[in-house]
Subunit: 468 residues, 2 copies
């Protein structure tokens, strides 16, 4: 597919209904439209546009659709897969001005929100009314709800409360031709036609641009308890994960961190609040929440009896809100810490949780074969392991030539365990050429045909999801 | 779209790989393929086929696709919307022999099941392992999991635990051309391409035929408490529903029954275990569940303090398992009782739950305008009200000519409240000509185009969902 470059005629059209502040063309200013949080990739658009309304966005899409101009929708650009990179140039559309929480409907426990609202801002606004919006990616302080919807984001709470798509009731979407639809209704159950809502969630901006979302809220749990459990074997830590669920406990957080993940993060943020003995290979960070302290104590006791069946060191129970924040902050900073430590590639593997030990073993074995080290951490409770492959002292040649083969082996093993290649980060640009591993040509053709239904001219976020 | 009738050549083909017991052609035997639980509608297929394997089903579909023969997939034929009726003749394919629970995976809390397994059979099999599959339509003792998937069924537990689609991880599907795909992976979170799984759920057999499902399970709650609350005003009962949630309580059942629903059912099943005073206009049946009796008692006390704010009579607390069963049986038999009482039309309205009183008022007002009575009941906790419009003494002329106008008015009002026209029963045959109310031509065209992607020859369950 070829796309037209934005020229002076096109620019004149955009100037006819957008203010100067809404049009970005100077290279210095365009830089922020050219990258997200994916490695060090940079792709400049011809033009950055910042619509203020559904009508303006509709006009932009309609025009680009008629003039075969690539359009890359952008949220906060915190994605890790290049999903927001304008790889075909054209227009990058920032949704940053769609930043209103339109209505917190306490009577129905729903919120109507624009896509440019920061996730944590939404969470705090509804929490002030006693309501809870659980999905909380590590970037919650800066990412947008629109990006969460587009990537079907998860986060630590997903293990108990589910990922983004489980909270979406209805979406307002501008289609490629500029027409505007709602995908469903503002209801908790819906058996009325095909589920356009769930088709849109996780479609990474390739099927339409979300302009409003009606999200389900639940009562906010009143309290939680948090513990950090050090294991002398990383595989044991993985095994303990499934064992906790088999006791009938559903923790509100169940995070795995390999030794290096925590050590590097302590160094990165200069945190010496916890000591990690030399023989500790991994930690589980385990949270339970609810409304009754005796129930939570009971859950914690059951968890203790499970983890004590493995070779562990002393368990740390957080004894204050400050200590809870310290521990969660350590977990949330792991990604940044790894990034600061070395050139790396992060994979977002997910398997049925009981298969985590198998997955970890395979990753280490593939690493030995190809000569790389890795640091693994993630949302073990739902089988989602972030695999950070470290460049370290590897030559550029090995890194560039051998790494794709190694990743392919990791993904093939992930699929063989019943898993898939992305749990919550999406496919975007950098994973698209692995999509032949989870899907065969029949499945990919179905997806491509669905794409053609929504966007026959292929203007929306081209170059993403589908293999070259 | 025209379809070919099944002729002797076609029959010979089917006989080449199916046994006599798998081919039904005699009119007397074909009758069971000709109806479901929708009113008294009867549409005979040319032929009934009962495949035993994915390979046989694939051959049937591939052949029908090449020969333009309509195919109507059928489960237990307990649907209420005519979704399983072979309105274009052709082949009716019964999934009754796909009746294996393939694997209860306790380690990962998942079950792999074929579509012909009865819902209650599945529930009891996993409950024996301490696991819980919550979706439980009133027909759970006879309906199939495949039908539940195709209609995105709900039931009383949905208010706390969600409807069918929230438990589906992965589906094996035979497409119209006979090819076989899996829609996703066996994982709790998935950000890998478009969500084909959720597109398939609720698509009523129009996009493919489900042959295996991997379903999520959760720990089975250890206990529950049940109460029946009589209200002197039906609107008050509706208002109490949202008020209970605003207290932070999420009941595991919150059912509304208008006076006549319960009175008729008591008569229908000759149950005199409860007495309904003359001034009682509606009941709420409220269940809470969990693992700690003191927590449930606390929930019940909070619920009592809410309902005592309305004009109620004495609350009945079920004091034994037998009494719980009696009360739930009364609730589950309402549909049959109404059906036995009069010719009727049932609508499956759903609104945000706080809008229930508005919806009930509008239904009664529209009834007065058109001269019909109605009996309303349903899953009030998630805003899902089943509206049974009673023919009673109405003339056939009024019934046939005026009723569609009245239903249209009810649905328009439902949409205006943020709701839609089916919460859990689907659209099927009998609701399809109301689909222009929730959706405009852009939305319907998107759905039709998706249908064309999956089934370009329109052989799968033709005559359903889309308006004529």
């Amino acid at each position: 597919m070829n796309y037209n470059k934005v020229d002076s005629n096109h620019l004149s059209f955009f100037k006819s209904f957008l203010s100067d502040a809404q049009i970005v063309s100077a290279a210095a200013e365009l830089h922020k439209f050219a990258h997200d949080e994916t490695e060090d990739l940079v792709y400049f658009p011809d033009l950055g546009l910042i619509p203020n309304s559904v009508e303006e966005l509709s006009s932009i899409l309609n025009y680009c659709n008629q003039n075969q101009i690539a359009v890359t929708p952008q949220g906060a650009r915190t994605g890790l897969r290049g999903g927001a990179l304008p790889v075909h140039g054209g227009v990058a559309v920032s949704m940053q001005n769609f930043n209103r929480i339109i209505n917190i409907d306490e009577d129905n426990a729903q919120v109507t929100v624009e896509p440019g609202v920061i996730t944590q801002v939404l969470q705090e606004a509804v929490a002030a009314k006693g309501l809870f919006y659980p999905p909380d990616p590590a970037s919650k302080g800066s990412c947008f709800i629109g990006g969460n919807l587009s990537e079907n984001s998860g986060g630590p709470k997903a293990v108990k409360y589910g990922v983004t798509n489980e909270y979406v009731l209805n979406l307002e979407v501008v289609l490629a031709d500029g027409s505007v639809i709602w995908t469903g209704a503002n209801v908790l159950k819906n058996a009325t036609g095909y589920n356009l809502t769930q088709l849109m969630v996780g479609s990474e901006g390739t099927l339409g641009v979300i302009t409003k979302a009606v999200l389900k809220l639940i009562p906010h749990p009143k309290m939680n308890m948090l513990m950090l459990v050090p294991f002398r074997s990383a595989e044991d830590a993985c095994k303990a994960v499934a064992a906790i669920f088999k006791e009938g406990i559903v923790p509100s957080g169940l995070e795995f961190m390999e030794r290096d993940a925590l050590v590097w993060t302590k160094d990165f943020i200069n945190d010496d609040s916890i000591v990690i003995p030399n023989d500790i290979q991994a930690h589980l960070l385990i949270e339970v929440d609810g409304n009754h302290s005796d129930v939570l104590m009971n859950d914690c006791e059951k968890i203790m009896s499970v983890v004590e069946g493995f070779d562990i060191d002393d368990v740390l129970f957080a004894d204050s809100e400050a200590q809870k924040n310290t521990l969660w902050n350590l977990r949330r900073k792991v990604g940044e810490a790894v990034k600061s430590n070395s050139i790396y590639k992060e994979e977002d593997t997910v398997v049925p949780r009981y298969r985590l030990p198998d997955l970890l073993r395979a990753i280490k074995s593939i690493g030995e074969k190809y000569g790389f080290t890795s640091v693994c951490y993630g949302h073990a409770g739902d089988g989602n392991l972030h695999v950070n492959i470290i460049k370290g002292d590897l030559s550029d040649e090995v890194w560039n030539d051998q790494l794709p083969l190694a990743i392919r082996e990791i993904f093939e093993h992930t699929i063989s365990l019943g898993g898939t290649i992305s749990g919550e980060h999406g496919i975007g640009l950098v994973q698209k050429n692995y999509m032949d591993i989870p899907f065969n040509s029949i499945q990919l053709d179905l997806m491509r045909s669905i794409k053609n239904v929504f966007d026959p001219n292929q203007i929306l976020n081209p170059g993403k999801i589908f293999p070259d």
